[in-house]
């Protein structure tokens, strides 16, 4: 049924992604591909993988943006920064990808809010991918069905995995711990507290999809004076003083 069932448990499983610490290594995309190629929505078909035009299904893709604050430091190269942006399904509370589905193949689980596709019912009309503003769904031309992030539903409830590993593959692998998994419906959960502390945001909230996943915006840069060249710091060019100064700055951030 494509009508959005009322959430019976209040649980809203999702991801919180820290844009401040993501270094754009693509490890999450690779781990996702590796796990899900044998997972719930397998396979994640690759066409011509070693040829001139490789083409394939991925649930997670990492974009790089150049950003500049619209106010504050006055712009210029000093405030420009590179931002790595991992993009995957946001498991929205108002997922139009589900309601537009004509067959009932797309559904949102009432118990935890995960949005899934029943591959046996999907007719491959692609309408759900048009209805998603975030590009979360990718069509598999080989199977003739739509595929998408499962939030590793086959890991997070998997009794065969040690409890510590019952997390999405992308979260497990992240070397900078920029990805966090948890229940965003529970205000006391670690992810909810993180969102509250860091001012987590929704992507394109005006469209009304109410994404479950949140993104933590990059932290403010150190003030310009704090970032002054080391030679100007007290102690001048003496190597010992410079090292101490560096340690001091690092620890006081």
């Amino acid at each position: 049924m494509t009508a959005i069932a009322p959430n019976t448990t209040g649980r809203k499983l999702g991801l919180v992604i820290d844009l401040d610490t993501c270094v754009g290594c693509h490890a999450c995309a690779v781990a996702c591909k590796e796990w899900n190629d044998g997972g719930h929505m397998a396979p994640l078909t690759d066409e011509d993988p070693y040829g001139t035009e490789p083409f394939g299904v991925w649930f997670n893709r990492i974009h790089a943006f150049e950003t500049q604050p619209t106010s504050g430091c006055g712009g210029g190269p000093a405030t420009t920064r590179t931002l790595h942006f991992p993009r995957s399904c946001l498991h929205c509370e108002q997922p139009d990808c589900v309601t537009v589905c004509p067959t009932g193949a797309s559904y949102k689980r009432a118990e935890d809010g995960i949005v899934l596709v029943d591959e046996d019912k999907c007719i491959g009309c692609k309408l759900c991918s048009w209805a998603c503003p975030y590009g979360a769904r990718e069509y598999d031309y080989n199977s003739g069905t739509m595929k998408k992030c499962t939030l590793c539903v086959d890991r997070i409830y998997n009794q065969n995995l040690p409890p510590a590993e019952r997390q999405p593959a992308c979260v497990m692998v992240c070397p900078t711990s920029a990805r966090h998994f948890g229940d965003l419906g529970d205000a006391d959960s670690g992810v909810s507290r993180l969102v509250a502390e860091r001012g987590g945001v929704d992507l394109m909230p005006d469209l009304g999809y109410q994404p479950t996943n949140k993104y933590l915006p990059p932290r403010e840069r150190r003030a310009a004076a704090d970032a002054a060249p080391l030679a100007d710091a007290p102690g001048g060019a003496d190597i010992g003083q410079r090292l101490l100064g560096w340690v001091d700055r690092l620890l006081s951030r």
Binding site: V100, G124, Y139
Partner: protein
């Protein structure tokens, strides 16, 4: 949005069929067209053939056409499902109306009732087709108030030119048929002009910064895509048409699709029947090609918010 041939063919041919069906049903039920068996058989036959061909064409782009029956199940939420259900529901009254007209030579009484129901279902089915597009929030060129009028107007205009041709061929009801074709073409042209004006002047719904959650805080510009080759999202939703080509195609739609057929239908009203049929056939060809080009543009000029992640500044 990628202009898929099967979807363009489907929406144009089924729209044409529903337009012709609705006009025949209304004019027949009103008694404005005499129940001439030749016109009834040809007109309703063409309408139902166009509708059926369109519906079949719509399954060609499916990954699993054999599961298409499942698409009738989710009419509570899905416009695509509603369209399928209404398309099927419109057949029984259309067949009753056609039976009355062709076999019994009657379009009154219970057959008129079937006719009104047929016309209603035909128009509502076209509205559902339009709503499939008009309900998609990520695509501002589709989610606006001019999309549904555009689909209905184009369906009625193309159907009306078909009706004018058939009325000319059978020499029945030429006057009202030609008048309706002229009216239909004028209205369709005006609605499309209003639609184009709207999509040119409407404010963007999102920026690249909004797409990454930094709207209002920072400006953002794509630095690097996640992958070297195009993926499904870019192939399906990243289609772009150059401005000068779009302008040229719009002029073609206005002149070849609406203007020229309009002149031909007017001319056809004042020349001998034998000549007028050829003029009307030419008018139909122009309208049909114009409608196909217009529908191609409807897709090609539609921008999806996912392109913000692949280099678009605004959508």
């Amino acid at each position: 949005m990628h202009p898929a041939a099967s979807v363009i063919l489907f929406t144009v041919t089924s729209g044409m069929g529903y337009g012709l069906l609705a006009l025949l049903a209304v004019l027949g039920s009103l008694g404005a067209l005499p129940p001439d068996p030749g016109l009834g058989l040809a007109g309703l036959g063409v309408a139902l053939a166009l509708i059926t061909a369109g519906l079949l064409a719509s399954t060609f782009h499916l990954g699993h056409p054999e599961r298409a029956w499942r698409a009738l199940s989710q009419w509570r939420t899905s416009w695509l499902s509603r369209e399928g259900v209404l398309a099927i529901l419109s057949y029984p009254p259309a067949l009753v109306f056609a039976g009355g007209w062709v076999l019994a030579g009657r379009t009154d009484g219970v057959f008129a009732l079937a006719g009104w129901l047929t016309a209603l279902l035909a128009v509502v089915t076209v509205c559902c087709t339009a709503m499939i597009y008009a309900s998609l929030k990520p695509i501002p060129q589709w989610r606006n108030r001019w999309v549904m009028p555009g689909y209905v107007a184009l369906a009625l205009a193309t159907g009306a030119v078909w009706l004018a041709l058939l009325a000319g061929v059978f020499g029945v009801g030429r006057g009202p048929a030609n008048a309706i074709a002229v009216l239909g073409l004028v209205v369709a042209a005006l609605v499309k002009l209003a639609y184009w004006r709207h999509i040119e002047t409407a404010a963007p719904i999102a920026t690249a910064a909004d797409a990454i959650g930094l709207g209002g805080v920072a400006q953002a510009r794509l630095l690097e895509r996640p992958h070297t080759e195009e993926n499904y999202l870019q192939k399906e939703m990243g289609f772009r048409v150059a401005r000068k080509h779009a302008d040229r195609l719009r002029r073609f739609v206005l002149i070849g699709g609406f203007g020229l057929p309009l002149v031909l239908v007017v001319l056809a009203s004042s020349v001998p029947a034998a000549v007028s049929v050829w003029l009307l056939a030419l008018a139909l060809a122009g309208t049909a090609i114009g409608a196909l080009v217009e529908r191609w543009l409807f897709f090609a000029q539609a921008k999806h918010t996912v392109t913000l992640y692949y280099g678009a500044a605004t959508v």
